[in-house]
């Protein structure tokens, strides 16, 4: 039980706890920002400025009755939210969120602020994102109701379609950064050009960032790509028949997927934890600020844009985004070859 091992265990628990907190904070932020965008007040009764609203929501959800349709397949019905939530948490485990730190000299070797260090980290994120499709398709199937099945199949078809553009947008960054490990990609973005423009891959890959954000919004089933869970069309899509904690787990999974997509976008395109004015060991503050900016962008998108119809959504993913991502990769590869020859 060396101090380093203890620190790593504490770090794992800390990351888990902070992800849970981030979901709660996102619930509040979503409702408050939505309200302000629509020129109304939002939650303001529970606690100062409505800050205790997520707590009230959690307590309410815990006290609701847990229902299950009689003809539903019991095992799969219980398994689906577990798969969704597990994949959401697991995807964040390889994302680094700060520079190596020795916690002010308390531990001998440097602790990496990342739960698991693998040298194929991006592929692991991508693999676990592919697995999260199963939570949705099983939820739709096992509920044994037509709204759920349609919602589940549409949602999973949308996710696997946009996974391609997601991966190809990442490939552009990999070609420039020359590594699969997220930590090395972030470290390649340290420093500045001309003294004030940071060396972010965003400036080298603007189209790639755009494709990644659009595909990320579609992957997490958020507006304007949230047709499968649209209240007006499909009751509530694949989570129609779920209540209480299972429903909460689907929502938890959705918010944590948003956080993971934002964190990976920050690491790949926005320079991770590198920033001016602060020493390296406080880089996680910059990371938090950047992730928060992207999450605000997510919420802003939801409450500003109308929803895509399902066939428009699929046509956009296959006929516009995928060719654009392929062309982006070709141009990036040509550029790297030209400038390094």
């Amino acid at each position: 039980m060396t101090p380093l091992l203890v620190a790593q265990i504490v770090l794992t628990l800390f990351v888990f706890f902070m992800l849970l907190n981030s979901a709660a904070i996102m619930v509040y932020v979503e409702r408050k920002v939505a309200a302000l965008l629509q020129q109304r007040l939002g939650p303001y009764l529970v606690g100062p400025k409505g800050l205790l609203q997520p707590l009230a929501d959690v307590i309410k959800l815990m006290f609701k009755e847990e229902l299950r349709p009689k003809a539903a397949d019991a095992f799969l019905f219980a398994l689906a939210p577990i798969i969704s939530a597990t994949c959401a948490f697991a995807a964040f485990s390889v994302v680094p969120f700060g520079a190596d730190t020795t916690l002010f000299g308390w531990i001998p070797a440097a602790l990496r602020l990342q739960v698991a260090e693998v040298n194929v980290a991006i592929l692991v994120v991508f693999a676990i994102a592919s697995m999260s499709v199963y939570g949705i398709v099983l939820a739709g199937w096992s509920s044994n109701s037509k709204y759920s099945l349609l919602g589940g199949l549409r949602s999973s078809a949308q996710m696997i379609s946009y996974e391609l553009s997601y991966g190809l947008a990442l490939a552009g960054v990999l070609v420039i950064g020359n590594s699969l490990s997220l930590r090395e990609l972030v470290d390649g973005q340290a420093g500045t050009w001309f003294g004030f423009v940071p060396r972010w891959y965003l400036f080298l890959q603007p189209v790639g960032f755009l494709i990644y954000m659009i595909a990320g919004i579609a992957e997490t089933n958020r507006a304007p790509f949230d047709f499968p869970e649209a209240e007006q069309e499909l009751v509530a899509g694949y989570h129609t028949e779920y209540s209480s904690m299972s429903f909460a787990m689907f929502f938890l999974a959705e918010y944590i997927n948003m956080v993971t997509v934002s964190a990976v976008a920050t690491d790949l395109f926005l320079g991770g934890w590198h920033g001016p004015f602060l020493p390296e060991s406080l880089g996680w503050i910059w990371f938090l600020l950047k992730v928060s900016a992207i999450l605000f962008f997510y919420v802003w998108m939801r409450w500003t844009l109308p929803r895509y119809r399902y066939d428009q959504l699929m046509a956009f993913g296959w006929k516009v985004l995928l060719p654009l991502a392929v062309v982006n990769l070709l141009v990036t590869a040509a550029g790297v070859l030209y400038f390094s020859a």
């Binding site: 799969l76 040298n119 194929v120 592919s130 499709v133 199963y134 398709v137 999973s156 696997i160």
Partner: protein, 168 residues
């Protein structure tokens, strides 16, 4: 130690795959088997193979199987045989299938363990994704391009075969 755990999971889930009546459960058990195999690839210092096993097999091919099973909504098999007897226990398949499996295992096991150099592995050498990529695009470039044509042919073929009569 982890080898035995992953190996046991792979064998048990594969046996359950061929023993289940409900095809949805078969597909899910096969996904678990692929997960165990992916763990075995990590133990064999092949992280690239492990990750693409999850992305391609467990994450794409099995989703395809699951879609087909759910959309076809087929009745469970075998209405001619006695419904109460499990498929693996009916006389014909039981004798032939089990005998075939046992014969294969004994034969392959005997042949494979006879090798004099089937001993311990040499010291660790993680082949980086970088090296695999270089190899794919230089030594095996022709095969790589051929697989892309193969995938195109498969896509076109699947769309044509599954089309309803009378559609353009």
């Amino acid at each position: 130690m982890l080898f035995y755990v992953f190996g046991a999971i792979a064998i048990v889930t594969s046996l359950l795959v061929i023993g289940q009546r409900n095809p949805v459960y078969s597909v899910l058990l096969l996904i678990a088997s692929f997960g165990a195999l992916s763990g075995l690839y990590v133990l064999l210092d092949a992280p690239f193979a492990a990750v693409i096993q999850i992305i391609v097999y467990a994450g794409a091919i099995m989703v395809l199987f699951l879609f087909v099973v759910m959309l076809l909504n087929a009745p469970h098999e075998d209405t001619e045989y006695d419904e109460r007897v499990h498929p693996l226990l009916r006389p014909g398949p039981m004798r032939f299938g089990a005998a075939l499996a046992v014969a294969l295992i004994v034969e392959l096991g005997w042949a494979l363990t006879r090798r004099a150099d089937a001993g311990a592995f040499p010291s660790a050498s993680v082949s980086s994704v970088d090296a695999i990529g270089r190899s794919l695009f230089t030594d095996y470039a022709f095969q790589f391009e051929v697989t892309s044509i193969l995938i195109l042919v498969a896509m076109v073929g699947a769309v044509v075969l599954a089309r309803r009569e009378g559609q353009g």
